[in-house]
Structure formats: C-alpha cells, structure tokens
C-alpha cells in the first residue's frame, strides 16, 4: 500500500524503511556468498557454482553444489520461515514475547516428527512423512493453544503456550524413553538440537513450498494483522472476519514451523528476536514486519551456521544450541524491557 502521509512528513524512520529491503537483500547476498566460500577446502565460489549449474563433475562444482549450496539455502529458508512465523505470531497474539517455541508449536512439530521417526507412520509419503507429521504436530498444538488462550490476553497466551509445550515435551520424553535402540535415540536427540548440515537439496522441496503456502496464507491477512493492533473487537467492527483470518494466520504459521522443525530440528529464539529487532525499522507496524523479519531471520540463521562451522570444536556445535546460547540472554533482556508494560 502506498504511504503518502509518511512521504509528506519526511519522517526519518520512513526514509530508513525505504532502504530496509534493499539493505537486507544486500546483507543476504553477502552472507550467502560468505557461507558458500567457507569450508575446510578453499574453493572459488563463482567457478564452483558455474560448474555445478552446467553439470560439471569438478571438485569445486561438487563441493559448492552438493555440500555448501544445500546447507546455505536450507539455513536461509529455515531462518526465513522462523522470522516470518515469529512476526506473524506476535502480530496475531498481540504479544511481543510470542515465539514458535514459547507457544508450543515447535515442540508440537518435534513431537510429530519424532513419532514418525520411530513408528514409521505415513510410510507412503516417503521423505515427506516427517514434514507432514511436523506440520500436523505444529497445527494441533497451535490450535489447542489458541483455544486455551481464548481472548488472546498477553499473559494467557504465554501461560497456554507453556502448558502446551510442557505437554508436548512430556510426550516427546515418552517417545525418547521407548526408543527402539540407543542409536535411534542419539540420532533423534541430535536432530532435535537443530542443524542444517548434511540435509541435501531435497529438503528444500519441503521448505520452499511451505514458505510459499504458509507465507502467502499469512501475507493475505496483513490488513487483519494491522487492525489487530487495536484489538479484535475493533478489527471486527471494521468489517474484518477475525475468527477466520486468525485461523488462516495460525495455519500459515504452523506450516512454516512444521516444515522448518521437521527439516532442521529446533532452532530457538530466532522467531522471537528477529521481529523485535526489525520492529522500530517499520514504525512498529505488524503488517510491515513480515518480509523484513523473514529476511533478517534468513541472514541470522545463515550467519549462525557460518559461526558453527568456523568455531574450532571437536564435535560440531549444533546450530540450535548456538542460537539458544545467544538468544536466551537477549530474551532475558527483552523480558526485562517488557516488565514496564506488564506491571
């Protein structure tokens, strides 16, 4: 939508917003380039990419095309899905502390995917089985949370999310408890810690459609997200269908979270912090927060993955562990800041 008012006022925040998307795009390109160039073997990125695109079997073509490109694209897509869903959830629940992990959706997705891992459900779907189960898990937990939270009061949302994630966590513990063998359990725990390494390009076949479908479901409800700033009754009085729109946003979010958890495990705090960082740059408007959050999410997860690869540890530090280590203190700071509003 054009914003003639802001143009007239010459508000500096708007001027910043004009450059926001190009700046984020540039950063994304830089991170992608850096991620493709980073590894144990130095490889010329352009030559490798060019060779891989033309079906060459050279060493650089294989390293770039088969190893680093999938990892980079996955990190970007998972980050975008998490950032986008975080911005959507915060707008829908009118709560700056809402996050896929805090409302129980990530745990639901993990439970779904883990259950399929073990019991071999949905065998007919092949590699899509875990994604489907992740989606089902995320959808179920999100909708139960929404029903439990009812009016969407900020404190209730967090309590309902806590209740649901505790239940999903307990159920996940049961699944782990009855793991058929220790290797399966180890594999599952490592997967839950969150990583984008060794996933292969076909994981993108799950993530990209999820980004497209989930993203567009949410994107079409931007007007509702904007109106919800003033509460659901105001939104309803302005002729919007709050119940239907909220369900569509929740479904879109569940698709994004379900797909990203089923591919990369739990990568915490990205969905919480990214919208928070972006908010002042878009004049705090929830409907304008979506795209920048997706882009910054992609940049941050890809950067975190670069750090994971660059940190010289014996066993590779898992991506989800790093984001949690960095995200948790920022979360504490956020709670501290939000205290003023709640007390």
């Amino acid at each position: 939508m054009p914003r003639p008012l802001d143009m007239e006022s010459g508000n500096p925040v708007t001027t910043m917003a004009t450059f926001l998307i190009p700046t984020l795009s540039l950063l994304m390109l830089l991170v992608t380039w850096f991620s493709l160039g980073l590894g144990s073997v130095p490889v010329p990125v352009m030559e490798g990419l060019w060779g891989w695109l033309h079906g060459a079997h050279s060493q650089e073509a294989l390293i770039i095309g088969e190893v680093r490109l999938p990892r980079t694209l996955l990190a970007l897509s998972v980050g975008a899905a998490l950032g986008f869903s975080g911005a959507a959830l915060q707008g829908l629940l009118r709560n700056p502390l809402a996050e896929p992990g805090l409302v129980g959706a990530s745990q639901g997705a993990a439970l779904g995917a883990a259950t399929v891992f073990y019991f071999g459900l949905f065998a007919g779907l092949g590699s899509l089985a875990t994604a489907a189960a992740g989606l089902l898990g995320a959808t179920a937990t999100l909708f139960i949370m929404l029903i439990l939270a009812g009016s969407g009061h900020p404190a209730l949302v967090i309590m309902a999310g806590l209740a649901i994630s505790t239940i999903a966590g307990a159920a996940l513990a049961v699944v782990l408890n009855f793991a058929p063998n220790p290797y399966a359990m180890q594999e599952l725990v490592f997967w839950l810690l969150g990583s984008v390494s060794n996933r292969g390009l076909d994981s993108l076949l799950i993530l990209l459609p999820a980004l497209l479908i989930g993203g567009s479901l949410i994107w079409r409800q931007r007007r509702l997200l904007a109106a919800l700033s003033l509460g659901d009754r105001i939104a309803e009085s302005m002729g919007l269908s709050v119940a239907r729109g909220s369900r569509l946003i929740a479904l879109g979010t569940a698709i994004l979270i379900g797909a990203s958890v089923s591919v990369a495990g739990n990568i915490g705090f990205v969905g919480l912090l990214v919208p928070h960082i972006m908010r002042p740059w878009v004049n705090h408007r929830p409907e304008q927060l979506l795209l920048p959050s997706a882009m910054l999410g992609a940049i941050l997860v890809c950067t975190a993955d670069i750090c994971v690869r660059a940190i010289p540890t014996g066993t590779e530090l898992k991506l989800g562990v790093l984001t949690s280590l960095l995200g948790a203190p920022l979360f504490i700071w956020l709670v501290w800041k939000e205290r003023k509003r709640w007390i």
Binding site: M1, P2, R3, P4, L5, D6, E8, S9, N11, R94, N95, P154, R223, A226, A227, S229, L230, G231, R233, I234, E236, S237, M238, G239, L240, S241, R279, N283, H284, R285, P286
Partner: protein, 242 residues
C-alpha cells in the same frame, strides 16, 4: 429516512425489546446506570453482538449488509482502546480506512484536523497523554467517515477541558449529515450537547426524548436510585445527585 431504525431489538437478557431511531444530524445521548446495557446496545449496532428484532441502517436491513458495507456505514469507538504496538498517530488514524481498503490521504487529514491531532501526527501513541489519546481514537473513527458514529463513554477519563472538546467535535461531526450515538455518564454534558436522550435501565429503554422529557427528577431517581437536583434552565444545565 432515519439513519437507524430499531424495533424490538434484544440481546439475550442484556438488552430487552429496544425501539428507537436516529435521525440525520442528530447526537443521541445514551445514558443510564452502570450495567444498564448501553455498551451492549452499541456493540450490537456495530455487529459485535448477535441480536433479535428488526434493525434498519439508512433504510437497509442490517442482516442483508455485508460486514464491509456495515463497517463503512457504522463506526464504533469502544469504551476502552489501546494499541499494543507503539504506533504513530498517523498510522493509527490510517487504520480507520480499513473498511474502505485504501489509505485515502484526504480523509485521514480531515479526520486528524477534526479531532485536532494534526500537530502530533508523527508522535507515538504511548508518548501521549490520556486526553490526546482519546482524540486519536476519535480521529481513527472519523477516518472511515461513517454515516453513524457510535461512541462509548469517550470522555470517561478526561478533564473538563477535553470533555468539552470531545463533545464539541462529536456535535460538529453529527451536523455534517452524520448521526452520533454517544454513551455518557455526565448528565449535564448530555443535556447540553445531545439533541435527544435515551435512558436505559436494566436492559430496557425507560425514557426517550429531549433533555426536558427525559431528565426529570422522578425518571432519574427511579433509574439511578438516588435523588437528583435538576436545573435545565441554567446555562450550562445542572444535574447533580443530592
């Protein structure tokens, strides 16, 4: 043609068989003790509460109006409003254009001018005083240029200066070929600014008419359960509990 014509409008047991109308250019004051059903009545007119009975808006049957069309005709300013995000005044007023699906700059500027918020259009809502905020909420409702504006206790927490300001703004809005229903507790202001008054008690409309017809000692003491002093000849009118 009346802007609102309601007959036997009921919302479960909270509003019972309400019959009233609203004319073009009119400010109708909705008065009555706490829990009388004023907010419920306003919410049902805005499509937020299901009701039984007949309701026509500008000659059209309420039930046949699509939500968007209804929202263009009827604007609601609820009793309590807040913005969870630290939005600018400009952005909040623009939200009033949602029923129209546009960002009509002229309408937004007119609304801000009417509610006298233009001077702090770029400031954030959480940096404003209560009185300034009340005018922003009003500007948000004006931006949609609804034919009928329903305002639920807009002056509840304002000082006397802002109370007068808001009432004057509502009055002038009604005079621009619109209609306003405003729920009020201040009976003196109601007598001074409203063309007609509608007194509700326990979900029923117990009296409807001009200030002289409604604000009598016996009607008021029946509804509020206290003796009142009424002097409508005084300027401004005085209505006080004894």
């Amino acid at each position: 043609m009346d802007l609102i014509s309601a007959s036997k409008l009921s919302v479960d047991s909270r509003v019972k068989q309400a019959c009233f109308n609203l004319k073009k250019g009119e400010v109708m004051g909705l008065i009555g003790p706490n829990g009388a059903g004023k907010s419920t009545l306003l919410n049902s007119l805005a499509g937020l509460e299901k009701f039984t009975g007949e309701l026509h808006i500008n000659g059209q049957d309420f039930d046949s109006l699509p939500a968007k069309q209804r929202a263009r005709l009827i604007g609601l300013q609820p009793q309590t409003m807040d913005s969870i995000w630290s939005l600018s005044v400009n952005d909040i007023v623009s939200l009033g254009r949602i029923p129209w699906g546009d960002t009509n700059n002229d309408a937004i500027q007119r609304a801000m001018k009417k509610a006298k918020v233009t001077e702090f259009a770029e400031r954030r809502i959480d940096h404003l005083s209560g009185g300034e905020r009340a005018r922003v909420w009003l500007a948000r409702a004006f931006a949609g240029e609804p034919l009928i504006l329903l305002s639920d206790e807009p002056i509840a927490s304002l000082d006397i200066h802002f109370q007068l300001e808001v009432m004057k703004v509502l009055k002038s809005y009604a005079q621009e070929h619109h209609g306003v229903i405003v729920a009020l507790h201040d009976l003196s202001l109601a007598a001074r600014f409203c063309d007609r008054l509608c007194l509700m008690h326990k979900g029923e409309i117990v009296s409807l008419g001009t200030a002289k017809e409604v604000l009598t000692k016996s009607i008021l003491s029946d509804a509020y359960g206290v003796d009142v002093e009424v002097n409508l000849e005084h300027s401004p009118p005085i209505i006080l509990a004894k």
